[in-house]
Symmetry: C2
Subunit: 108 residues, 2 copies
Amino acid sequence: MLVSAEDTDDTLAGYRSSIDNIDAALILLLAERFKITKQIGKYKASAGLPPADPQREQQQIERLRELSASANLDPAFSEKFLRFVISEVIRHHDRARSDDSGNYTADS
Amino acid sequence: MLVSAEDTDDTLAGYRSSIDNIDAALILLLAERFKITKQIGKYKASAGLPPADPQREQQQIERLRELSASANLDPAFSEKFLRFVISEVIRHHDRARSDDSGNYTADS
């Protein structure tokens, strides 16, 4: 376990503890999100739905840009964030497809 | 407002509604996280603490990698995610510094 020289500062330690709590929440929410996109992939394959839906992605981006503006967050960051997560979803789908010959399709 | 051809499928709409809820939670948590790193920047400058702390970043990465493994998430993704968020924090600090001549320092 590494110990930082700044860990002795109580105020800083308090801020960092909040960052750590938020990061844990972010990671667990992302884990849940990937569980759902995996289910979507299976469902779309079983229902014969087309894999990609560019309109859906555009809707997601527009919605998050609006939400982030109201939260005083740079809308461009929200779009970058969503594209980052979507690229991971596509990587999951690609890996699943190569493991399982075509049972997964993309929906992010 | 764009309307997707797949919006008529109730099962898919249910999954997507969950994704939208999770994405909203992620964006709002990220907004809160950036508020805290902004406070850290101000505090470190006022307390005369050094701007960067590489050991702290290493601790954050190790912790999130462990947490993501327990949540069945690829630890490499968690590390990539944290680095993505940290790069945005640094961008915020850089922008604040250029606006305000040196009152902000890096802590992610």
